[in-house]
Amino acid sequence: MGRLLALLGLVATMLGSAPARAQPLVFDLSSHLIAITTGFSGTELLLFGATEGEGDVIVTLRGPETTTVVRRKSRVAGIWINTERMAFAGVPAFYRVAASRPLDQIAPPALRARHQVGLENLRMSPPADAPTGEIPAFRAGLLRNQEARGLYASEPGRVSFLGPRLFRTRVVLPANVPPGAYTAEVLLVRNGQVIAAQATPMLVSKIGLGADVYDFAHRHAALYGILAILLAVLSGWGASVAFRKA
């Protein structure tokens, strides 16, 4: 909390010292690099900033875009089988939104759609030849699955104001947060109009032993396979010897 106040103080000083070039919106993250170490079990990201003048704040955090296949099961001979598939391009691996007031009171639908605010406005593109009648069901299925895994949240988080100008919000990054390049975006909205928009990058990256293992497994797959067998044989043999003596 003390660190937060210090940071906010710094922002306020920065704003105060340059009144001539006063920006309508500045913000930063408590960390631009989230390290997934061997002991990683999720973390909390703090986003804080200041606005010039009145307005509401909308914050979005989007993970790296991937192509994701959605499959639908249907009953074949009494068994549930994946029968249909649809691949969506540009699906963010992670998504969170937060706002200072309920979204529908701050921003009109067109604005929300333009800035991809809210799960329903994520621009995930189905294949060109997809049957249009089927897309909504597959899209909803995709959102539901991502939400169940904690990668998406349909409920917006809260952006709280400290006084008239300083704002902050917390984003919980779960243990399964996907690695990659993220973008945090903040919109300052007044009377249903975007007054200012700012974005900043954030990186979620595997660091340390976990990252080394992952890299090694992908770059030297054959060697990794051989080492895996050796390790397994050694540990099995070691246990056998240990128990024989015992």
Binding site: R71, I81, L142, P179, V213, A232, F243
Partner: protein, 308 residues
């Protein structure tokens, strides 16, 4: 205490994994099966992606089988000649299995095929074993001891060519028989993330007619090499072997297996088989139920191949 699994890309509780490894290792030592048929579904159940569960479990089975086979070799319970023939088939079968696995994964049917294989295999094996052990137990009760005239029944399988002598098993049978058993079990090993002991052991007893004393050791002997082959191919082709996960399972598993082997030596064969049959059947029933009951969500997602 949480630990991050680098290949599975998820965080798990260390003690949960150690406990799973220990519990399944105990059963493994007790019954002479790899325990994969329990471990792989359990791993998938706690959220490990099926492909990683199958690949990492193969590495774990290598370790637990090594310590098991060493214990059995010391007691002279391994028929190396029979094991080598089974192994030759196993290498062919498991190599084909890894290719099939990669293909099924690409068309999104791997979960279904894995589950179906489990239901069919465990269902058949469990039923046969339960029948046999109940029959033996009843016979024991009536006559005090079973007295059979022949070591095993002779049927058309004994008329096949390429006969080989297996002195340790007191058998003179066609080598095609153990070769195809090995091939079939190798295929399942790669596909289901199992050592295949639960198929191999009954096949050795009922199909090949091997004496029960050498069955477990010989099965473990060939399992070591077949699962080592699976581990290498899964790591090399699919990058789905999570060594952090596998080592945690190993630590729990080897301890459990050693205890299991000691307890197993004091129990009667029919009782063991009866117990294992019940366990095999309950896993099969659970998986069958999951296939026919309406899923919570009809939709599922998967990252596109090469999407990293």
């Amino acid at each position: 205490m949480q630990v991050y699994l680098p290949i599975a890309e998820m965080s798990v509780d260390v003690f949960l994994i150690l406990g799973l490894g220990g519990g399944v290792g105990l059963l493994s030592g007790l019954f002479g099966v790899g325990g994969g048929f329990l471990m792989t579904p359990l791993l998938i159940f706690i959220g490990v992606p099926p492909a990683v569960a199958v690949g990492s479990e193969a590495a774990q089975i290598v370790a637990s089988s090594v310590s098991g086979v060493l214990a059995h070799t010391r007691r002279g319970n391994v028929d190396f000649r029979m094991g080598s023939v089974l192994l030759a088939g196993g290498i062919v079968g498991s190599t084909a299995g890894v290719q099939l696995f990669a293909f099924l994964r690409s068309i999104g049917q791997v979960d279904l095929v894995v589950a179906l294989s489990y239901v069919v295999m465990l269902g058949i094996v469990g039923t046969l074993m339960l029948q046999e052990s109940v029959r033996t137990l009843i016979r024991h009760r009536r006559t005090g001891a079973a007295n059979r005239g022949k070591l095993h029944q002779h049927n058309f399988l004994h008329g096949l060519p390429l006969k080989m002598r297996f002195p340790k098993s007191k058998l003179y049978i066609s080598s095609l028989l153990p070769l195809s058993v090995g091939m079939f079990v190798g295929l399942l090993s790669a596909l289901m993330g199992v050592g295949g002991g639960f198929i191999m052991v009954p096949a050795m007893i009922y199909l090949l007619g091997m004496p029960t004393s050498v069955v477990v050791g010989t099965s473990l002997f060939q399992i070591v090499f077949v699962t080592a082959n699976v581990t290498f191919l899964q790591a090399y082709q699919n990058q789905t072997v999570d060594m952090v996960l596998a080592l945690l399972l190993v630590v729990g598993g080897v301890i459990g297996a050693q205890i299991g082997a000691r307890v197993g030596a004091k129990l009667r064969g029919e009782q063991l088989r009866g117990l294992m049959a019940l366990m095999v059947l309950s896993v099969a029933l659970k998986l069958a139920w999951d296939l026919v009951s309406t899923p919570e969500d009809l939709f599922s997602v998967g990252r596109m191949e090469g999407g990293h």
